[in-house]
Amino acid sequence: MDRRKFLHQTAAAAVLTSVGGLTLPSFTKKRKHITILHTNDTHSRIEPFETSHHRYANKGGVARRATLVERIRTENANTLLLDAGDIFQGTPYFNYFGGELEFKLMSMLKYDVATIGNHDFDNSIEGLYKQLPNANFDFVAANYNFKNTVLDTHVKPYKIILKDGVKIGIFGLGIQLEGLVDPKMYKETKYLDPLEIAQDMSRILKEDEQCDLIICLSHLGYFYKRNPTKISDLNLAKNTKNIDLIIGGHTHTFLPKPTIVRNSVDKNVLVNQVGAYGVNLGRVDFYFDENNEKSSEGTMILV
């Protein structure tokens, strides 16, 4: 409540300056800090890997992820937790409970937004719909048209979250389902061109919604070496503008560190993917300065 009041006052003062042309003493610059935490392709991996596992021995585990997430939230209350899809499938937890526990745990972890991966259709679109009451977070998918499906109105193209006065727009992109998922599973879901949709979305979020930060949750895959022109996060980043961060999934890419890509207007975009199975958590910190003039200087990205 206090924060809202403060915002109101600042906004009103700003109007006064512009209307009256008065030079009011400028406000002390306030730095704003938004933390984005993210996962992808957790694939029903609820418990840590067995100590005998050949690749991820004793890694992962939701109860440990919770410790880390809570620790970071204590550091910065303005934290969002996001997921880039393929929450379902991979352990018997999914086979026996259909994703109920996955969604309940994500709700407990206070996930804010997730997108839909191809495996989230593994119990058909009805199977996903059935579990939605267990998810206290939103799903976004801008390039799936769910009009003639049970998910109609339950999945939005994008979501806007206001944190500490920073307007954050988050939109989702899903992979082409044909050839990957049985049409019986995704039913009348229509796949739309992700690049065109991303260009539309970033324009809507930047120009119409006036977002300060634009994030794309993508299940398109990081990059396809054998098919380099196939739409992927790297290609998406290159061919769009105004997106600040692409959080990827699908290809289970364990990046050594987040990638910086130059977008269509030669500005930096951050592309990150944290492998799979909850082995890693991605963390991105955005720092904003209040200023009266639009800053044209490029922002610094440290990875």
């Binding site: 906004a11 700003a14 939701v62 992820r65 082995v279 890693n280 958590l281 991105v284």
Partner: protein, 250 residues
């Protein structure tokens, strides 16, 4: 009152225009590994526990019995486990195929690498099918020309692996890799088309079984291999399988 409203609206308008008062100056990013240095939040384990217990009980439910160890490496270019799986998938899928098309599947073929575990002597539980077939592969029927069947057999002979073939096959391989092939007791006919059961994974080119790509026709059973295994095991008190003469090396 109206004036006040107008002023208010204007204010809102200006607020909209003046909103650009923050700019991104710095971004940092990192990837953090979740490992044992992080403690487990008890509340989460508390939520997980009843699911875990129920799941373990399910997994440990006895569904059949194995009188001996059944594995994929006890024969030459065939195995007791491969034979069991190829035959049960054939039997189960053939019922579906016959019902929907009026035709019969000629034989089944899968890949050696797709069998991910053995069955140990003793009780067989729900865990076994998950170990045998952790993937979500479904059964599909492909219609192949006689020429493609020859490619399939050439692949099988060259590969020398115990790729599972169903009992409908009788393949005699000579020293010089020439062979005699019978399918359902009939001599293989190059001019005939055959219906072959396999998995959607192999059909789409998995394990380089390219002869399954672009078939004359493709029939999807929507029946997962693992479900076929579970259904068959549940229907059997005892799992019986052996090596036989489906593949004979001269």
């Amino acid at each position: 009152m109206k004036k006040a409203l107008l002023v208010f609206s204007l204010l809102i308008l200006f607020v909209g225009c003046e909103k650009k008062t923050i700019s991104l100056i710095k971004t940092t990013a990192e990837i953090i590994t979740i490992d044992s240095t992080l403690s487990e939040k008890a509340a989460y384990n508390k939520l997980i526990a009843p699911y875990r217990n129920k799941m373990i009980a399910e997994i440990n439910t006895v569904i059949s019995y194995a009188p001996k160890n059944i594995n994929r490496y006890d024969g030459k270019m065939q195995s007791s486990l491969g034979n069991l799986l190829a035959d049960l998938c054939y039997e189960r899928a053939n019922v579906i195929f016959k019902e929907r098309t009026g035709k019969e599947i000629d034989f089944s073929m899968f890949n050696y690498g797709g069998i991910r575990a053995s069955i140990s002597q003793g009780v067989v539980t729900n865990k076994n099918p998950f170990e045998l077939m952790p993937f979500e592969n479904s059964l599909v029927v492909v219609e192949l020309s006689g020429k493609k069947i020859m490619e399939l057999i050439d692949y099988f002979i060259k590969n020398k692996s115990a790729h599972p073939l169903s009992k409908n096959i009788e393949l005699l391989i000579n020293n010089d890799t020439s062979y005699q092939l019978k399918i359902n007791n009939q001599k293989f006919d190059l001019s005939e088309n055959y219906f072959v059961l396999t998995s959607d994974y192999l059909q789409s080119g998995g394990d380089k079984m390219d002869f399954f790509k672009n078939p004359i026709s493709l029939f999807k059973t929507d029946y997962k291999m693992r479900h076929a295994i579970i259904d068959e095991f549940k229907s059997l008190d005892t799992l019986r399988t052996s090596l036989d003469n489906r593949v004979i090396l001269q």
